[in-house]
Every structure is written in structure tokens, then in C-alpha cells.
Amino acid sequence: MSKRIKNVSISVPILYGNHSVRLEPEERTERTPADHTHKWTVFFKPVLDNIDLTPLIKRVTFKLHETYENSVRLLEKPPYQVTETGWGEFEVIIKLHFHPGAELGINEKNFQIFHALKLHPFNPLIEPLPNGEVHLVLYDELVFQEPTEKVFEILTQKPSNLIPYKLSEKSKRFQEFTRMDEIDELARLDVYIAKVKEEVEKEGNEFQELELQKAALLQQ
């Protein structure tokens, strides 16, 4: 089961990031430090809700800033998320612990994802919301290169890459990723590539001209 399948990769699209909202006075408890201004949630999850990664992932740890009590938060089962209050932004280390043991055959090292917590509006394109809501959701894919047969088995139980074509809600424009986003991005990249290619051609022509010039100069 721990044999790796050569030349094959299998990927699982995931989302990670954080939601943040201004801390309302009524939400404060006795234990909430007075200088905390935001309430945030940092999370990690597969893009599709019906995908269960527990056969693969034993636990997920979120390493918060050292100033937090129990700065490493352990989560044995989904939802993998930590909600805290705070006042400052820092880098959260999301660590995926795969099930260990050679006999199980997953045989993957623990994997870290670094996430820079955002509490304040960072995207000028998004209108700031009155309650100071901030969402930073990042799309990525966990790529298992040359997976073991066990991993292959787990990940081929269900198709995990069926990213929807439509947003579930219009308001979640910046919290969800759709197939259309991918298509848009591809189109955008194509435009960029075309631009660069054009530039390359221009430079090439100039280069040739200069070469001719040089040859002419040398002949004089």
C-alpha cells in the first residue's frame, strides 16, 4: 500500500484563509483582553464540502502568535478552524498531520501552509463593509506527487475537483472560487503572454537592426 505510483499526481483543491469582523461590545467576555478589536476565524477546508479528508489527515494544527494562550491549536476533525479575537495581524501556520505509520501506507510528511492573517480591508476593489467584515479566502490545491497506493485509493473514492461554475451566493464573490474564475484567469494570462510575446518580437527586430548597424560600422 505504501508503494508510490510513478509519474502520477493527484490533487485536491482546498481553501484556506480567515474571516474577520470588528469585535462588537456585546460579544466581549470577561476574558477578552480590552485591546482586542477584531474577531477572526482562520480555517482550512477542501473546496467541496462532501470531500472528507479525515482518512488522510489525522489532525490539523493552527500555530498562532506566541502571545496567545495555547498558541498551537489542535483539531482532530473538521471543521478545521480556529476562532479568536485579537488586534494584530500575524502569520498563522496551518499544519496538516497525515496519518502516520508505515503499515497504513499514507507515508506523507506533515505539511505546512502559511497564512497571513488579515483583519483590515486589503483589497481596494472590495467595498468596506459597515461591520468591518474582512474575508481572505485563498484557493490552492494539495498536490500529491507520486502518491502511495493508499493515498491514491483514498483520493479516488470521490471526484474532489468538481469546482462549481456558479457562486452559491452573490455576496460571496471573494470567498468562493468557481470554474469561471479559472477560465477568466486563463484568459487573462493568455493576454499577458501575448503581450510579452509581442514585446519579444519587437525586441528581436530591434536586436537584428542593431546587429546590422554593428556590421555596417565594422565594415567602415
Binding site: V8, P159, L189
Partner: protein, 585 residues
């Protein structure tokens, strides 16, 4: 100007021949009936020189004096033509007809000839040999015999008709039975599915039978129609017979010796040209052509029979004549001629339909044979448990392969046999066409092929796997798109580092650059108005495999652009250097 003169002008010496040709010419001239040549002819003739003319020029030159030839002909005395009476008949029986024709020659000579010789074309004037009419006594005897025969025939025909009727009834009963059976089968269909499956095969068979039945029915109908017509004809004759106690007998008895003689005379006169005989027959206007023929044939057969046995074939031929058949045939022909266009069209369509039925039957046969070849595979009598493990699967696969080979061999032989016989036996379908085989071969993506390879190597290493996920996946027979849905990708020749990573951090070839290069890449992108968001870590917002590949392409092209720019800069510097060296600046 002769050839000699030309030779003279050209200064050609032809000393060895001068005398000879002139002599020859003299000879020729002396021999020819027209020695004198004048005008152009002479000039042309002279141009020939000492050579002998390639063609006889006498005629040519004679053509020049064509008028003279014509005159000669005119002067010739024409041979005499005489209008002579002649006798076309062999012998001297002219039957009082006088015929004349123009013959070349003088009258005296020709008349002499005619006395000794027969007319030139007399030998082509042949008649038909007709047996002599028998005497009156014999005639009566023969007629009696004919009557008896006819009576017998009538009885026999009646018996046959009855037998036919019985047969038809039986057939009808059978048909009814078949229909009942079919209905019963249909009722059976409503029962359990297993039975239905069996029934289907049966039904198919019965379908074939049905089609056969149809064909048979068609033929039966044809035969039936014929039989009906026959029966009708027979009924007619029957009624006729009933009306005047053997109608045919009475009809036949009306053939008197006198009338028969009259018929014989006509036959002789018109050389058995029946339409004419019938046309000129005035003794009894009720007689049909067939009546005449029958009377003549049967009597002459008898006559010939009594005379000698050498013309056996002829007698047989004569005795074969059947009046009823002949009238029937003529009736059919008449009907055929009287068909309306609509009827013709209908008949054609019927023929086409019949052909279609035949084709359908043939097709059925072919399909059936295909089915049989398919059924030629082994029965799955054993449980599938033994094939559940991968090893079991391997053995099953091997078994199937061996069987495939065997079948192919068989088919190869079969085909050879077929080719040698040129039989219209339907060809066996190739194994590759069977659905499962095709699917496996054609729809395997590169990834699946790779995985199958992995699976095989595992099996060869005797690694036991209870349930193999790869197998399961392969069983699903995904398409490329579906593979994408599983996030599967086959890296044909990339080197992969085993382990987990984030797509955005994938080590793409374009990103294997020094930090400084990446930095300049990002600044260059910014120059090109590509929103990089600042910094060196600009990546696709949605790093999927596709977007990352595109991103990689972009980065690589930017790197290429950078190289180009660098080269250009270097060149510019060089030019500046040269210029300064040459003191141009």
C-alpha cells in the same frame, strides 16, 4: 527538262547507267499501249529520270486521256437483255401463273438453256412435308381412342382438384395453429424475465420461421392462384361436361372426316402457318386455332406412328401438345398485354417487396450467425469468487486472451474456407468488435495505460492486494475530463519529487530562476501593465494545474524577453564602443 538535264546542271556524273535506263525506257515505251505522252504528263515522266517508275504510270497517263477511255466504252456494243418467261416451281407445274423477268443474253441462247436447266432459285422454293391424312376407317378408330383418353383425363383432373382442395384446408388449419402458438407466446412474455430472455431467443428463431413462412406463403399464394385458375378451368370443363355428358367428346365428335380433310388441305396450302390457316378456315367458324392444331397434331402423330418409328422425337413433340395449356398460356399472355399501368406498377412494387423480404431473411441469417459466434464463448458456470483477487484476475485475463486467440484462429480458418468456397455465408464478426474489448483498447487515456502498466508490474511481483484502488479506477474507465475531476494527472516525462505540496508552490521550470531574475521579471511585468500586485510573489489567484501551467509559460516568455533585452543592451554598448573607437562620436 529531263533528269539528265538536272544532273547536268548539278554536275553529277552518272556514267555507269546512262545507256541502260534509256534502253529500258525505250523498251517500256515500246511495250506500253500508249507510247505517246504529251503535256504535263511527259514532263513529269521525264522527271523520273533513269529510275523505273514505282507505279504503273500507264493507267495514270491513261486517266489523263480519260475521255478517250470513255469513248472506247461508248463504242462497245451493249449485251442484249431479254424478257423471259420462267417457271419458279420445281418441275413444270406452273399452276397457270405466268411470270416474267429480265435476263441478260439473247433470246435464242436463253431459251435453249432453259429447256435443259432448272430455274436458278427453284431450289430455295421448299415446302413443308405434311404426313398424309389417314384413311377414313383409321380416322374413325383414332377418334375413338382420343375420346376414351379425354374421358380418363377428366376423371383424373377431378381427383387432383379434390386432393388439392384437401391440402389447402390442411394448410389453413396449420396457419391457424401457428397463430395460436404466437399468441400463447406473447402471453408467456408477461411472465418472469428469465423466461422472457429465453423466449426472446425463441422468438428470434420463430421470427426467422415466420419470415420463411411468409416466403412460403407468397409462393403458396402464387401456386394457389395458379391452382385456382386451374380449378376454375376445370370447373368450367366440368360444368361443360355435365351439361352435355362429356362436352369435349361432343366437340371432338364434330370433327368429321370431311372437315379434317379440309383442314389438311389448308395446312398443306399455307405450310402450317397457323394464323393464316385459322384465318382462312371457313368450314366451321367456331373452331379456335388451338382446336385446329390439336386435331392436326394428334392425327399426324398417329399417322407417323403407324408409318415408321424413325421420327420418334417428332411424334413425342406432337403428342406433347395440350390444347388447354395452350389456351391458358395465350390467356395469360393476353392478360399480361392488357395490364393497366397501375397494375404494372403494383406488380413491380410487389416484386421489390418480395426481394426486400428475401434480403431481410438473409440479414437475419447473418445476424444469427454473429450471435452464434458470440455465444461460442465459455459459459460462466463457476462462481466469480475466484476472480476477485488480483491474481485471479490475471488468470482470468490470460484465459480470455488464450480464448481470443483460439477464436481468431478459428475465424481465420473459417474465412479461408469461405474465401475458397465463395459462399454467401455471412462473415464472422471480429473479436475486436465486441463491445468490451473495444472499450478497453480505445478509451484508455495515457494515465490509464500507465496505471494498467503499474498494475501489471505489481502482479508480476506477486504483490497481493485485497482491493486495488487502481483496478477500481480503471474499472470506471474515465475520460480525460473525468480524470481531471479526480485531480489525476499523468506526468509522462517530468521528474516528480514524491510528497505533498501546494499547487501555488509547485516547482515549475519557469520558476527555477534566481531570485534576482524573478525580481526583474516582476518589474518587467509591471512595466508591461500586468498587475502583479507588487513584490516578487505574484501568482495566479486560483492556482490550478492549468493556470499554473499558463503562469509558467508567462514567466518563461518574460525571462526570454529579459534575455533579449540584455542582448540588445550588450549590442548597443558594443556599437557605442565601435563608434567611439572610430572617432565617430
Amino acid at each position: 527538262m529531263s533528269a539528265r538535264d538536272i544532273l547536268d546542271v548539278l554536275n553529277v556524273q552518272r556514267d555507269e547507267l546512262p545507256g541502260l535506263p534509256s534502253k529500258k525506257r525505250k523498251k517500256l515505251n515500246s511495250d506500253s499501249p500508249m507510247p505517246r505522252q504529251t503535256g504535263m504528263a511527259r514532263e513529269l515522266y521525264n522527271l523520273l529520270g533513269p529510275n523505273t517508275p514505282p507505279v504503273h504510270l500507264g493507267g495514270v497517263s491513261g486517266g489523263g486521256g480519260g475521255l478517250g477511255g470513255l469513248k472506247d466504252k461508248m463504242n462497245l456494243k451493249p449485251s442484249p437483255w431479254t424478257r423471259l418467261e420462267f417457271n419458279p416451281q420445281q418441275g413444270n407445274d406452273s399452276k397457270g401463273i405466268k411470270l416474267y423477268h429480265w435476263v441478260k443474253g439473247s433470246r435464242e441462247l436463253l431459251e435453249q438453256e432453259q429447256a435443259t436447266k432448272e430455274y436458278l432459285f427453284a431450289k430455295f422454293n421448299t415446302g413443308v412435308e405434311i404426313p398424309e391424312l389417314v384413311g377414313e376407317e383409321l380416322y374413325e378408330q383414332y377418334m375413338q381412342e382420343f375420346e376414351e383418353k379425354e374421358e380418363e383425363e377428366i376423371v383424373q383432373a377431378r381427383l387432383e382438384a379434390e386432393a388439392r382442395r384437401k391440402k389447402e384446408e390442411e394448410r389453413r388449419k396449420e396457419r391457424a395453429k401457428n397463430e395460436e402458438k404466437k399468441q400463447a407466446k406473447e402471453q408467456d412474455k408477461d411472465q418472469s424475465k428469465d423466461e422472457q430472455d429465453k423466449d426472446q431467443s425463441k422468438d428470434e428463431q420463430s421470427k426467422g420461421e415466420q419470415i420463411n413462412d411468409k416466403n412460403i406463403e407468397v409462393s403458396i399464394d402464387d401456386a394457389g392462384a395458379g391452382a385456382d385458375a386451374d380449378a376454375d378451368a376445370e370447373v368450367d370443363t366440368d360444368t361443360g361436361a355435365a351439361d352435355n355428358t362429356g362436352g369435349i367428346v361432343t366437340v371432338a365428335s364434330t370433327w368429321t372426316y370431311e372437315e379434317t380433310k379440309y383442314l389438311w388441305d389448308l395446312c398443306k396450302a399455307f405450310e402450317l402457318k397457323w394464323p393464316i390457316i385459322h384465318d382462312r378456315y371457313t368450314y366451321d367458324l367456331g373452331r379456335t386455332q388451338e382446336d385446329l392444331k390439336e386435331q392436326f397434331y394428334r392425327l399426324s402423330a398417329k399417322a407417323l406412328d403407324s408409318h415408321d418409328a424413325q421420327s420418334k422425337a417428332l411424334i413425342d413433340g406432337l403428342e406433347l401438345y395440350s390444347k388447354s395449356k395452350e389456351t391458358e398460356r395465350k390467356q395469360y399472355l393476353e392478360n399480361l398485354l392488357k395490364r393497366t399501368p397501375a397494375e404494372i406498377a403494383e406488380e413491380e412494387s410487389l416484386v421489390i417487396e418480395a426481394r426486400r423480404f428475401e434480403l431481410a431473411a438473409k440479414k437475419m441469417l447473418i445476424e444469427r450467425s454473429h450471435l452464434l459466434t458470440l455465444l461460442d464463448s465459455p459459459q460462466s458456470s463457476q462462481s466469480i469468487l475466484q476472480y476477485n483477487s488480483s491474481q485471479g484476475l490475471a488468470t482470468l485475463y490470460n484465459n480470455l486472451m488464450i480464448m481470443d486467440k483460439n477464436q481468431k484462429k478459428k475465424q481465420g480458418q473459417l474465412q479461408k474456407v469461405q474465401n475458397s468456397n465463395f459462399d454467401p455465408v455471412p462473415p464472422a464478426i471480429p473479436v475486436a468488435a465486441s463491445s468490451s474489448f473495444k472499450k478497453e483498447r480505445v478509451f484508455q487515456t495515457p494515465l490509464q495505460q500507465h496505471l494498467a502498466g503499474v498494475l501489471k508490474s505489481n502482479q508480476s511481483n506477486n504483490i497481493k492486494l485485497e482491493t486495488n484502488s487502481i483496478q477500481q479506477l480503471l474499472m470506471k474507465r474515465l475520460t480525460q475530463k473525468e480524470e481531471e475531476a479526480y485531480g489525476l494527472h499523468y506526468h509522462s516525462n517530468e521528474k516528480l519529487n514524491p510528497g505533498v505540496l501546494l499547487r501555488s508552490a509547485q516547482k515549475l521550470p519557469g520558476l527555477q530562476q534566481r531570485q534576482s531574475v524573478l525580481k526583474s521579471v516582476s518589474t518587467l511585468l509591471q512595466e508591461l501593465d500586468v498587475p502583479t500586485g507588487g513584490g516578487t510573489s505574484w501568482k495566479p489567484v486560483m492556482p490550478t494545474r492549468k493556470t499554473m501551467a499558463k503562469y509558467d509559460e508567462l514567466i518563461r516568455s518574460v525571462v526570454a524577453l529579459l534575455e533579449m533585452k540584455k542582448g540588445k543592451d550588450r549590442l548597443e554598448a558594443e556599437i557605442r564602443l565601435i563608434k567611439s573607437q572610430k572617432g565617430l562620436e
